[in-house]
Symmetry: C2
Subunit: 132 residues, 2 copies
DNA sequence: CAGTATCCCAACGGATACTG
DNA sequence: CAGTATCCGTTGGGATACTG
């Protein structure tokens, strides 16, 4: 057959793109993904849709500006959807797309890794600082 | 028994730390990990030790400054080791620690995700830009 | 080769004020 | 509530020059 599956096409894409190359568009996409706020937002949406204010409360310390900016970028990249409910006051919900759900486990794993290994990192820092 | 395994202690750590909290040290560790250069460096070291110049060549476009800075931070956090061989000219090798090997698959998965899904992101951007 | 030290500009990102 | 706009200090990060 001449037809290719979506999986085959993605496998081909993985071979064609290379984030080690400076000019590759994946380099810029990697920049978007390797972002503290993006990781927390995507992880927070694992359980289902969240309102803007819910995300702001959950991700303590994020500014209005950074939260909106992060959400916009992720919306544009097809990771999440933004749904406006016309009411007073306005209600806006954010939800992961299938692409976003695909990405979610990866982002969660970074956050979990940090939480799980914080102590080991502390010990490493103590050793490093001790001999400097 | 009163003894706890390393696994149990790490599970406890995961419960004690929470990157959603602004003051949590994992928030800052997350910042370090969610870094374009850190991701590429850690991914590049999967196959074994690499010299400074090898890393610089492999990670196209990285500046001397950023590469050294990234390597220093990761060394301090116990992710990799820096080994100096006294010769002329000096030879320096970087290698993942057990902690680094633990982190490696996570970082590789982000890079791979970007390479695999670049096309889907392009399509999403085209749709988003078309209705704006 | 590996690294440090400056210089310097662009961006990141917080604070605040204002709108539908 | 959700978002935009502006101001403004801090940091990121490249370019260049110099050292063991």
């Amino acid at each position: 057959m001449a037809t290719t599956t979506a999986g085959q096409r993605r496998e081909q894409a993985r071979r064609d793109y290379d984030a080690y190359l400076a000019g590759c568009p994946t380099r810029e996409l990697l920049s978007t993904l390797t972002d503290k706020w993006a990781a927390l937002v995507i992880a927070a949406l694992a359980g289902g849709p969240q309102r803007h204010s819910e995300l702001a409360r959950r991700i303590a310390g994020v500014s209005q500006k950074m939260l909106t900016q992060t959400l916009r970028t992720l919306e544009r990249d097809g990771v999440l959807t933004r749904t406006v409910t016309a009411s007073v006051p306005t209600r806006v919900d954010y939800e992961l797309t299938p692409l976003g759900h695909d990405l979610n486990p990866v982002m969660v794993s970074i956050k979990t890794w940090a939480e799980t290994n914080m102590d080991r990192v502390f010990q490493a820092r103590a050793r490093y600082d001790a001999r400097s």
